[in-house]
């Protein structure tokens, strides 16, 4: 099952995929699409990725988590358009104890944000768009209008 998907994420199904009668502690993180960013009203959002590398890095992150703690972890991230309020990323870590479940869940979401080659493009209520870029002033770099971008390629 790929880590990146264009389909809505199913938290219950991910919980079921790692739950086990021996692992009674499940810590989850769901990141949903917010309607505001840097003071601007967001109306739509889309994710793109370097697919083969993203899949490999997600796999590595889960291997690292499962080597560091006695847990099983599920991770999925959306690609393409994601509506406001929908889940963009879900992590579920299942262990026998709370400490390890929380630690592994937190590790995986932080590593995913830091290491997986995925990019977020936001559209605002005024019709403009921007690339989210944590290294840029204000965290955003203006994008070309999608129509202009299509005309060039």
């Amino acid at each position: 099952m790929p880590f990146l998907t264009s389909d809505p994420l199913d938290l219950e199904a991910m919980v079921a995929s790692v739950a086990d009668p021996a692992r009674g502690a499940l810590a989850s993180f769901v990141g949903t699409v917010r309607d505001h960013h840097e003071g601007r009203v967001v109306t739509a959002l889309s994710y793109s990725a370097y697919g083969p590398m993203a899949e490999r890095v997600c796999h590595e992150i889960l291997e690292e988590a499962e080597a560091q703690w006695p847990v099983r972890v599920a991770l999925r991230h959306r690609l393409g358009d994601v509506a406001i309020g929908e889940a963009a990323v879900v992590v579920v870590a299942a262990g026998a104890h709370r400490d390890e479940a929380f630690a592994a869940c937190r590790f995986v979401i932080e590593a995913t944000k830091r290491r997986v080659p995925i990019w977020k493009r936001e559209r605002y209520v005024d019709g403009t768009e921007a690339w989210v870029d944590p290294t840029a002033p204000g965290g955003l770099v203006p994008a070309k209008h999608p129509a202009a971008s299509r005309a060039r390629s």
Binding site: Y47, A49, Y50, M53, V89, K113, P117, W131, A143, S153
Partner: protein
């Protein structure tokens, strides 16, 4: 694999993503660089081949064959070198 290329040079595929693809106007470009070459040499070649690529950082985050790479890493014929804008998943 290098038979159809000049002696002492190698051909690699450059992939561009997200904002980099947008500003350069393409998601893919092939460059030829003198061998031996590094990831940094490939970036330099792209910037001289494609005028719009000069807007990219001189040392962008790169991957070689889908693994993160350093500028000084060697490239081989047929490699896929990806230029990655700052990541913003999650």
């Amino acid at each position: 694999m290098a038979m159809n290329h000049p002696q002492g040079s190698l051909r690699v595929r450059v992939l561009l993503f997200a904002r980099y693809a947008e500003v350069v106007g393409t998601a893919e470009h092939e460059v030829t660089v003198p061998a031996p070459a590094t990831v940094a040499d490939v970036v330099t070649a792209l910037r001289s081949d494609v005028p719009a690529a000069r807007i990219l950082p001189e040392r962008p985050l790169c991957a070689r064959n889908a693994s993160q790479a350093l500028p000084e890493d060697a490239v081989e014929p047929g490699d896929e070198i990806a230029l990655l804008p700052p990541l913003s998943g999650g």
